[in-house]
């Protein structure tokens, strides 16, 4: 029997960020990652730190996203200094393309709404094709324009995950690969069972993606989540042509170009679909026509972990105090607030940050 301050179930971007944040404050933490057979959203994502368009109709989500984006620079520095892993972090602002005039008009209205709701905290610019051409000479002639937000950025998501794990271990955290098969709460102590071991702790943080659905019920919580597939194509490495991240095309620091993004309702199928890949490629070629002669070398599908309203799910148990369930499809953007704000509150036993209390599962009770 091993005893911990906290047990974090899930070693993806949310579990790792929270575990890292707890270990950083001197907590004794066990992080239970499952296995390579698990559905692992953190291994498949695009790597955006993205603010524009998030929380247009929900100012707490917009505020929370901005709060995280603003901490990214310091967070990246801390993590790479501690672990010697280069996160390829870049935050010089991101562009979201509009492929026709109608889209451009709609985008402008949406961005204006975000700016008004933010009370001066969110700024944006709208650019037409010739203005875009100044910044990215290879832009296609049929792109109507783009919205730009200074707070957007990008990072190598695999290096981020690796750095969180390495940093966590460096801070004396314990990381084990095993699936949780049971959780019990008895006299203020959690008992977490895996195939080979039993662990106890004062707190349990569920960050197990879709497995939260089942695990949450063991600690008096609910986690109504569903998958949405996104596919990504990646090209051969080419000389740098795009420093800024965009919603659809991103060139990594190594020269590869990532193309996204699809939104597919296909259950738990993590595969790829030729029609979706074609759509992604066609759109990318409309944006940057020279890409038609660039080789694509890989494609993959990955599942976003979504709630019905697209907002995160952060919950704390009333019946089992000390149990939390966390999920969000923005594990990269929100890594700093997960590691610093959420872990900071949990470490002090003061619940979740007030700004995210509205993201509990009560909102799904009809």
């Amino acid at each position: 029997m091993h005893n911990f301050d906290s047990i974090v179930v899930g070693g993806g971007l949310i579990g790792s960020a929270v575990s890292y944040g707890l270990a950083r404050l001197g907590q004794k933490v066990l992080m239970l990652d499952e296995s390579d057979n698990s559905i692992r959203a953190a291994r498949g994502n695009f790597g955006l730190i993205w603010v524009q368009g998030k929380g247009v109709n929900h100012s707490n989500y917009a505020d929370w996203t901005r709060q995280s984006a603003r901490q990214w620079s310091d967070f990246s520095k801390e993590l790479s200094e501690l672990t010697n892993i280069d996160l390829a972090f870049e935050q010089s602002g991101g562009f979201d393309f509009c492929l026709n005039e109608k889209e451009l008009g709609k985008r402008k209205t949406m961005m204006e709404k975000m700016a008004v709701n933010s009370v001066g905290e969110f700024n944006f610019e709208m650019l037409n094709n010739s203005e875009l051409k100044q910044i990215m000479p290879k832009i296609g002639p049929s792109v109507a324009g783009a919205s730009f937000s200074q707070l957007d950025g990008h990072v190598n998501p695999l290096n981020l995950l690796k750095a969180l794990h390495k940093g966590f271990i460096h801070l004396s955290g314990i990381l084990t690969s095993s699936a949780v098969i049971g959780i019990q709460h008895h006299q203020g102590v959690f008992q977490v069972r895996t195939k080979n071991s039993n662990y106890t702790s004062d707190k349990v943080i569920l960050a197990a993606g879709f497995s939260n659905k089942l695990l949450a019920t063991k600690v008096g919580l609910q986690a109504p989540l569903h998958p949405q597939r996104g596919e990504i194509l990646v090209s051969e490495k080419i000389p740098p042509f795009l420093i800024h991240p965009t919603g659809l095309v991103r060139q990594t620091k190594d020269g590869g170009v990532l193309l996204g993004d699809s939104h597919e309702d296909v259950g738990f199928d993590e595969g790829v679909n030729i029609n979706e890949m074609q759509k992604i490629a066609k759109r990318a070629i409309q944006i940057f026509p020279f890409l038609q002669s660039v080789k694509m070398v890989r494609a993959w599908g990955s599942l976003r972990i979504l709630t019905n309203d697209g907002l995160p799910l952060y919950d704390q148990s009333k019946t089992c105090p000390g149990a939390f369930a966390l999920s969000s499809h923005s594990g990269v953007t929100l890594a700093p607030v997960h590691a610093l704000d959420i872990a900071g509150r949990i470490a002090k036993n003061s619940g979740l940050p007030p700004i995210v209390e509205c993201f509990n599962s009560d909102r799904f009770d009809v």
């Binding site: 290879k138 051969e236 490495k237 080419i238 000389p239 740098p240 042509f241 620091k253 190594d254 020269g255 020279f290 002669s293 660039v294 080789k295 070398v297 890989r298």
Partner: protein, 99 residues
């Protein structure tokens, strides 16, 4: 990064790399034949213009790309050597102007 564990035996062919004739075992793929001949730099990295060479030897890393008989960006670890093959280093300015 690869170290030879002994010279390959069997029938041989002559290939040309950067104007230099190399006698290599016929059963080898281009990447293995070049490595065995002491070639480590196959191409120029697109971002840093540094020297790159084979990493995975199984067709997934795309770091062994090379120009073979005038065709650029060939995966040298997946192509068997042939008599008279003309091979040259894959340099960035060769094809990646992107215009």
């Amino acid at each position: 990064m690869f170290k030879s564990i002994g010279k390959s035996r069997g029938e041989s062919v002559t290939i040309v790399f950067e104007g230099r004739s190399l006698v290599v075992a016929k059963k080898l793929n281009v990447a293995a034949a070049l490595l065995e001949s002491g070639v480590t730099s196959f191409r120029q990295g697109e971002v840093n213009l540094n020297n790159r060479g084979p990493y995975c030897m199984m067709g997934v890393c795309f770091d062994c790309l090379i120009t073979i008989d005038g065709l650029e960006k060939q995966q040298s670890c997946l192509i068997q050597v042939r008599e008279g093959m003309i091979i040259s280093r894959q340099n960035v300015n060769v094809s990646d102007d992107n215009e």
